[in-house]
Symmetry: C2
Subunit: 455 residues, 2 copies
């Protein structure tokens, strides 16, 4: 219990408990400063493994940690479940939807990204993306139910459709989803059904550009494509999507294709094609880039607002050579630590908030340290670039595994997750293959299985 | 893939993949016989640990196993996700909601129970029970959000209300829920909040009768009450509930009480007071008891319907001494094995279904082997009756733990669950403390936290 009489000398409000917000809070400590960390979820999410929840490899709590728990030993951090309604820049107050007003001396905006549909928001309900645990649980439900529906479907043509899973977008999310779903069907579900043969499921990865994993060197993109094919994924490059409707994806017509050939009917369509900044970014009146991300100064603050920092996927930051800082977890964490160091240095210099305004000091520029890039594709399949080293296949996959296990340190269940996961890989069983939410009320989902109150 | 040309000589339909249905399927094998196992969930649930999911001690997949996975090596068992619409007794067909008709030679009804509100179904939304994973996840969400709401509530009186959790019903479910919630507040959540003190949460267990755990010997009931009090639970016996409204429980007026004192305002009300048979039981035209359970013959078949067996919580079976067979997992499993043995013996005797009707043989009566009774109360607190032995406290809790670990054998994640659980107990941390489903659409829940599409 904090003493309400001891008003903090500096108030810092952090919006978002993702990698950037968390790294900021971990790195920032200053006597007399108090942090309020606001998130609309009660947990920090280990996003790089979210696709494993979607494909039933891991349980939701395996990759989520209650934010309160992370900071239970920090008396200077208040964790606040809440949602931002608006930011009153001139009053320096964050207004939450429940009406609370949080005054700040410094504001850290680290709200991350949301799935973006390039102006086609109506596609969202037919082709969910995965950015939250609820997204992942929805995808898991729809994925497993597509197989269940196929099992009881008498029409063989419809069975083939139900067993077609289309993943839109050949970036890291699309690639890992397509690989993992193909693996799920070919190994774990293989012997579970009696009428259908899950190994005949068709997983189609659609990419508008000419290669998958376009942020990687070209040779690794090609290696990723080959590994996907080996895992049974049908990779279609140079294939833009024209429309997504319930259970079907319409491709941009190809001059050579026969009529109707540009429609892919599917039991499930997933979206891995776009991430844009959280909508709040646009409401600040600050310049944003094409993806709605806040363009930041070299020190990661907003132009003309030295008291506001934007970090992680909501920020559009440049490296000294002009290349963008990538939207990956290590970059978000580095940004969090940078902002913490800048603010702490400034507070030391200012002494008292009344004596000098924010931004009165010369601040260090953020320098992104690129440690490499890793993308997992499936069982023993991945691509890696670490410094000048490039490799793929099992060595890259082991590197990916190692990095993610090290990352998971700090999560309470890292040992249990490891065991659970290794067990799945060795036995080809998967215990998170559990559908919850069948009682979702009508209308909450576009389609669902029969459900009624017995049992 | 089964050969459709090889039509089975005997068709057995099993409704429900709980302990009874599963035990039946595991025990029954007969050449030429085929089982169709129907459940509306894709998983078998280890119900005795369901309360642990509700109090965030375990993740949902920890206690659920996909039914398909359990029977992946049994070619004679078809697992069918579906919901029963009706049973056409004279045609011997089960009709599912998706329109499918499943013909049977023998039918095993093992649909279990649902939460019963003694004719007050309107209480269900204000006081959820826990019978399914979705129930448990709903309770977890409401429980954790009550603490989150209290943390941001300025009015101290309202904070006290929000930190009051009322559990209705002093049976095993109510007792273990009350004990576990009190433990959660006093140990795991203790240091997580900065404004509220979770250890001051008030957990009230309300029981209409004169003791908790009324199926246990009286001295164990008293020991359970004392252990509950030691865990911080306020136990109120002889206290019938008159009404449940949003956020409050109205108790039957007490002559000695001042006006208004019979109303308990609470941040969460849970229902552990009643279980009744799945509603389908009443639609069969067969005799049912007060709780809607099918009254069965000594062989567990329905009177006049020797081809239909009712097993587990949907059946009202008697022991030779006239006492009821209790609604516990071991009884359900014994019933499943008994029915399997009866049907197999009869099929051997009949030779061909055309030559003799079901029930043409003399059948063994079901004999329940009572191995004892265990109820867990909280950390190192439980009561146990094993044969003539009665004990409580840590030894009983260790017995409970041992029995449940043995039970969990067969579940893929028994090692991971054990580690995860021991870790929680030792470190007083709990990693399943994760709220999902915050995006539940309006109206799906009576109340919820603010939610909107950013992040």
């Amino acid at each position: 219990m904090s003493d309400p009489a001891a008003r903090p000398r500096f108030r810092i409000v952090v919006l978002g408990g993702g990698f950037a917000g968390l790294a900021f809070c971990r790195a920032f400590r200053f006597p007399g400063a108090e942090i309020t960390l606001v998130d609309r979820q009660n947990h920090h999410l280990f996003q790089p493994l979210l696709y494993q929840v979607a494909v039933a490899g891991l349980a939701a709590p395996d990759i989520a940690e209650p934010i309160r728990s992370i900071f239970r030993k920090r008396d200077d951090i208040h964790v606040r479940l809440g949602e931002v309604a608006s930011i009153r820049l001139d009053e320096r107050r964050v207004i939450l939807r429940d009406g609370a007003a949080l005054p700040y001396d410094y504001l850290v905006v680290a709200l991350g990204g949301v799935t973006g549909y390039f102006g086609h928001d109506e596609w969202a309900q037919h082709a969910p993306g995965i950015k939250t645990l609820d997204d992942a649980l929805l995808v898991r439900r729809r994925l497993l139910l597509a197989f269940e529906q196929a099992e009881i479907e008498p029409d063989p043509e419809r069975v083939r459709e139900l067993l077609t899973i289309v993943v839109v977008g050949g970036g890291p999310t699309g690639v890992e989803l397509a690989g993992a779903i193909s693996d799920l069907a070919r190994t774990i579900l293989r012997r579970d059904f009696s009428r259908i043969d899950p190994t005949r499921a068709r997983v189609v990865l659609i990419e508008a550009g000419s290669r998958v994993l376009s942020t990687f060197p070209e040779d690794l993109s090609e290696k990723a494509r080959l590994q996907l094919q080996k895992l049974g994924v049908e990779v279609r490059l140079d294939t833009p999507v024209a429309d997504i409707r319930p259970g079907e994806v319409v491709l941009k017509p190809d001059a050579e294709a026969a009529p109707g050939e540009n429609i892919l009917r599917a039991g499930l369509v997933l979206w891995g094609a776009g991430v844009v900044a959280a909508p709040l970014a646009r409401s600040l009146g600050a310049p944003v880039d094409r993806a709605g991300r806040l363009v930041v100064e070299p020190d990661l603050s907003l132009p003309g607002r030295p008291e506001i920092f934007a970090l992680g996927d909501i920020a559009s930051a440049k490296r000294p050579d002009g290349k963008p800082v990538p939207g990956v977890a290590p970059a978000a964490m580095q940004m969090g630590r940078h902002a913490a160091q800048v603010i702490a240095a400034e507070l030391r210099a200012r002494g008292d908030p009344a004596s000098a305004p924010a931004g009165a000091t010369v601040r260090d520029a953020f320098a992104y340290r690129d440690k490499g890039d890793l993308a997992t594709i499936g069982r023993a399949a991945a691509v890696a670039r670490i410094g000048r080293l490039r490799f793929s296949g099992r060595p890259a996959w082991l590197a990916w595994l190692l990095v993610h296990l090290v990352f998971l340190v700090g999560f309470r269940n890292r040992i249990a997750v490891l065991i659970s996961w290794l067990y799945s890989y060795i036995t080809y069983k998967s215990g998170a293959r559990v559908v919850t939410g069948l009682d979702t009320p009508p209308g909450a989902e576009e389609s669902g299985p029969p459900s009624a109150p017995h049992r």
